[in-house]
């Protein structure tokens, strides 16, 4: 049981990192509280596996500290950190039975046989592996193997944390939810810190209480799934979370109004003030596809749009349209009135958020 703190942590695979680009993880501070269920979400190559391996001790960070309950553990190898890690591909010891697989970490620690047996049976029971205990691990299905490798982490007393590195990649889709539910159950029962690496936002949001979104070697936002959806702190979060991702418009300030191309956009006055006083020219407005209102009759704040495609996706329709030469996506609820050749889109001002240099600017309304 531990609280894991990353202090001024950075990692580069090159020995003499010169620029930003040389870092797999750019300098960051982060705290994973004891007992939390966290997800580390990001695209391939954003540094999330590197970060996980630094926490487990398979990698030593080139800068900064890793603290377990305030204790610096940088130099401690994984075997001394009391951490469990479940890998993308199930790692099992082929020639052993399921029982021996689960007992393996305990035997390596010279645990007395009577305590070992109780512990192994307890963990097998939770993971529903009891009927398989005497089977050779080699013959199990992928999801059973993944449960065995998880079980090897759980049998040890006082595991500081369990780290998951995309553990459901090789699992059949219909079994994924079952295993995910099992993970949740284990988390609630043992109150262990769990960090779950994935590139699947659905997996992240069903598993975790809080998600850290990583992009380009940095945690760009750390929040609940709801916060990530409603208030993306970075344009990448807006784009990565949600399906489809957020729409962004590059805007500028002209004569007291916010201009998108040559189109003045109706926005909150606070946003107009921020845009007017911004020193950067990288100014974007974001709106979720869910919040765009589309109709075939003009209204006060609606802008004329050109429809590209309208896809029926069952529970909703996905509309692609262009405005001022840029492609937008909008999610229309089921049963939305059919659109004619003249369509208009309205961006409700309370749902527009402002990004300067890719980061969210809090404009003060609620």
């Amino acid at each position: 049981m531990a609280e894991i703190t990353l202090k001024g942590l950075a990692h580069s695979y090159s020995k003499t990192p010169a620029s930003h680009g040389d870092y797999a993880i750019r300098q960051m501070d982060h705290v994973w509280h004891q007992g939390g269920a966290y997800a580390l979400l990001g695209p391939s190559g954003c540094g999330k596996s590197t970060l996980l391996n630094i926490i487990s001790g398979l990698l030593e960070p080139s800068e900064g500290d890793v603290l377990f309950d305030g204790q610096r553990v940088n130099e401690l190898p994984p075997e001394e950190r009391n951490i469990a890690q479940v890998f993308q591909f199930p790692v099992i010891y082929d020639t052993m039975t399921v029982y021996d697989n689960l007992a393996f970490p305990l035997r390596n620690m010279n645990t007395p046989e009577y305590r070992l047996d109780t512990k192994v049976r307890e963990v097998a029971d939770i993971l529903e592996l009891t009927p398989l205990l005497s089977r050779k691990a080699k013959n199990l299905t992928a999801d059973e193997k993944q449960k065995v490798s998880m079980g090897r982490g759980l049998v040890r007393d006082d595991v500081s944390a369990i780290l998951f590195d995309e553990p459901l990649t090789v699992i059949d889709p219909q079994l994924k939810w079952k295993l995910r539910r099992k993970l949740k159950e284990i988390h609630e029962r043992f109150n262990i810190t769990m960090i779950y690496v994935t590139h699947d936002q659905l997996e992240a949001s069903t598993f975790a209480d809080k998600i850290a979104v990583m992009y380009d070697g940095q945690v760009v936002q750390f929040g609940t799934p709801r916060e990530l959806f409603e208030k993306p702190a970075h344009t990448f979060v807006g784009y990565f979370i949600g399906s489809p991702g957020m729409n962004f418009m590059e805007v500028s300030h002209q004569a007291g109004s916010v201009m998108f191309g040559d189109q003045p956009l109706p926005v909150e006055s606070a946003i107009t003030r921020h845009v007017a006083s911004a020193s950067s020219s990288n100014i974007k407005l974001g709106i979720r596809p869910e919040f765009i209102v589309v109709s075939d009759t003009p209204s006060r704040n609606a802008l004329p749009i050109q429809i590209v495609t309208l896809q029926d996706l069952g529970t909703y329709s996905l509309l692609s349209f262009t405005l001022a030469g840029q492609l937008f996506k909008a999610r229309l609820p089921e049963g939305h009135a059919p659109l004619g050749s003249n369509a208009f889109a309205e961006f409700p001002i309370q749902h527009i958020s402002l990004y300067i240099d890719e980061y969210l600017v809090e404009t003060g309304y609620e």
Partner: protein, 295 residues
């Protein structure tokens, strides 16, 4: 569902292969079978002998001794080369130019022809000019492969280990490289000792290449001819005369075509039988571990 087209001309496509196999395997083997059951005295004088040659070969005490030596030799080199090959593969560098360099160095002995290997060791072990023979003598060790059967044996085994361990090492090296990094990481997290990593990760993953290595090395060593022939000529006495050399003496030296044909067939069947038994046993053991047929 039976909508296959019947066309006997398809046999024409199989014919070239049949002819090839006939010339490469069946016909030569049948001539041997032919000789093994007849006594050929001249172009027009041949007598059917039945199993007479086979019986005389099986009862020949010199050949039985050669067979025992052959088995002892194959088992000895397997017992040395397999563990040694695994050991070398384990300490070989895993990546970078060092890995390539070591790989090339280690495979060099494999490229040397059998006769040359024999000659190299023949000179190497000579007491007057050979580095090893001279060196051992200078150290006061009475080493002489032409007089001392023990020395001859040790030298032949050493030579074979030098020549062929690289093959085992290379096979094991490739097997080790195919183990995903996650296995080693998981083992570290599970606090496995180095021995446990070897015993429960590396060795099981090497099973398949080891089967190949053992089969190849068994077949190879059971047929060994040129190297001991050049090095010791089968001596001193007949202490290093292996089966191939006995066969060559019988067939070429004495022109005993009937007995040597029978000998060849028995020799061939022994190799086939041992390899088959070994292979099916291993495969059967793996099947036992796998009663539900999953992969």
């Amino acid at each position: 569902m039976n909508n296959k087209v019947q066309n006997n001309r398809a046999w024409l496509l199989v014919l070239p292969m049949l002819v090839l196999v006939a010339f490469s395997a069946i016909i030569p083997l049948m001539t041997v079978v032919n000789y093994s059951v007849q006594d050929v005295l001249g172009p027009n004088a041949r007598f059917f002998t039945g199993t007479e040659w086979f019986e005389s070969i099986l009862n020949d005490s010199a050949l039985r001794a050669a067979f025992a030596r052959q088995i002892l030799f194959s088992l000895t080199i397997l017992a040395i080369q397999v563990p040694l090959g695994i050991g070398i593969a384990l300490i070989m560098p895993k990546r970078g130019w060092q890995a390539s360099a070591v790989l090339i160095l280690i495979t060099l002995p494999l490229l040397i022809p059998w006769n040359v290997v024999g000659s190299i060791w023949q000179i190497f072990t000579r007491g007057d000019i050979g580095l090893m023979g001279w060196g051992l003598r200078e150290l006061g060790i009475n080493y002489n492969i032409t007089r001392n059967a023990g020395d001859a044996w040790a030298t032949i085994i050493l030579m074979d280990v030098w020549h062929w361990t690289p093959l085992v090492a290379m096979l094991c090296y490739s097997g080790l490289r195919s183990i995903p990094e996650a296995y080693y990481q998981a083992a570290r997290i599970d606090r496995a000792s180095k021995w446990a990593v070897f015993r429960y990760i590396q060795l099981p993953k090497l099973t398949n290449v080891l089967v190949i290595a053992v089969l190849l090395r068994f077949m190879h060593s059971f047929m060994i001819y040129a190297e001991p022939f050049v090095l010791t000529g089968g001596g001193p006495g007949s202490s290093t005369t292996f089966l191939s050399q006995s066969l060559a003496t019988m067939a070429i030296g004495q022109q005993d075509l009937g007995p040597s044909a029978a000998f060849s067939i028995i020799y061939f069947l022994v190799i086939l039988l041992v390899s088959w038994v070994f292979y099916t046993t291993i495969m059967h053991m793996q099947k036992d571990k796998n009663p539900h047929g999953g992969a």
